[in-house]
Symmetry: C2
Subunit: 282 residues, 2 copies
């Protein structure tokens, strides 16, 4: 089915996608594009990709059936413009964590051949050398087609993810950003802020980072995520994230007030309700 | 060395301590005290303890060499008073997550035979049936002797933890509460509040708990912890926890402001610094 796929952005996500694709379609040739020359040479060395370039215009020469954008979302508009200028006719999708406005912007440049995608998978790791071929297996992958999306393009992207054992779910681009702004982006902001707070609470020869027990290590694992990727997510989904942060701030203020006023019964209620909701996830 | 140990509070922590003790000292008889009759019968059935009672006065009849208090910290004063009234002469320690004022209060009732202890180990699980015999192996255990602590009692508790393969560290009781208020208690408050916020952000038929990808599951695991245990920690270490929450709130406010004003460079700095600090923990 797939003979030539081009991946723009050869990092952890792009690399993992390449590995998954190679496993499922061993005959598929994968071409990587990355502005970072060392990412391309590392990926070639690891045989994650079969060819590569630092120039997006080389996409045309490769004549792909599918282009997958796997860069930080802040670069999407520039990439869409470049691909539009090349007059690429194939299906184009992405692995970005923000959809909403971005999807409509991409469509303006690329038309109905663009299908927004967001595999709900990842780790705090970055870099092509950390790529995992099984990253997407059994994981949800949200696709965000619009009324302008070509049915053939949508079918190709959907079938591809299903063939990689992902669980595909269609979603409105703006609803996607509300949901993942709350359950993923805001908690990442919280984790980064938690590290900042622990640094500021370290004092007088007490380095609090020497005491990572009691859940702290798990809790802050996601603060090791790539800063550029997350900067772009925070900026591109700012409205939803800020809204979610404010709701969280109210929740924390409520708990803090209960602690300050020593309200034992209300604290028990608050914690029991949270535990009950969390237990249901598992 | 140990022939008769009494554990007050037969839950996850007390049960794990009993299992660790049995593995290291197979001949040791363990007697459990719990106000909850079903905890005692479960522990007897699982052979976690050799005998048990719902009455603390039965501690005397058992004639232990060591009493280990493993109940929520809010019950400590009542237990100390009861043990003092029984005129128990043996060494008494605890597994509680708050020390500070509590240690001096315990000493008032129990004298120099009391040695505060806090093994930095646990999971979000509760209940004696979830106990883990290897919970403390390779983990830090803080002990908080004071100038009143009997050197023999301190040595017994220290040697015991070392024999269970824990890494013993002596610490001032108040410094303990500052450190663990910041790195453990405050993050637990944040995790509980995060669940509360996600519940409040769920709306119009969108159940956000159906989207646990993107780190959310790891991040909120600790919100499944026992509400009573955590209520007591929040109340007993309120001052340090509230202070730490406030520093965290400032950190989050800073990040939120950077997002609102679209300050790309400053966001990158903020996230990079957090990532660097977090990466050092691993």
């Amino acid at each position: 089915m797939f003979e030539r796929v081009c991946i723009v952005g050869v990092g952890f996500m792009g690399g993992s996608f390449a590995l998954a694709l190679k496993e499922r379609y061993p005959q598929c040739q994968i071409f990587g594009i990355d502005i970072n020359h060392s990412a391309i040479s590392k990926a070639l060395e690891l045989k994650t990709i079969d060819g590569g370039s630092t120039q997006i215009k080389d996409t045309l020469r490769f004549d792909p059936q599918l282009v997958v954008i796997a860069t930080p979302v802040g670069t999407f508009e520039e990439i869409a413009k470049a691909l539009a200028q090349l007059d690429i006719k194939c299906v184009i999708t992405d692995l970005g964590s923000v959809k909403g406005r971005i999807v409509y912007m991409m469509e303006e440049h690329l038309g109905g051949n663009f299908v927004g995608g967001h595999p709900i998978a990842g780790t705090e790791k970055s870099g092509v050398e950390n790529s995992l071929k099984d990253l997407f297996k059994g994981k949800r992958c949200v696709i965000t087609p619009t009324e302008k999306t070509s049915p053939q393009a949508k079918k190709m992207v959907k079938d591809l993810w299903q063939s990689l054992d992902a669980l595909v779910e269609e979603m409105d681009p703006y609803l996607h950003d509300y949901i993942f702004g709350a359950v993923s982006h805001m908690p990442h902001a919280v984790a980064f802020a938690l590290i900042d707070a622990i640094a500021r609470l370290s004092k007088d020869g007490v380095n609090l980072f020497e005491y990572p027990g009691g859940g702290f290590k798990d809790f802050t694992r996601i603060a090791s995520s790539d800063p550029i990727m997350w900067r772009d997510i925070f900026l591109e989904n700012a409205e939803n994230i800020v809204k979610a942060i404010e709701v969280f701030q109210e929740s924390l203020d409520t708990l803090k007030s209960l602690i300050v006023s020593g309200k034992a019964y209300e604290i028990t209620q608050y914690l029991s309700k949270a535990k009950e909701l969390r237990d249901r996830i598992v």
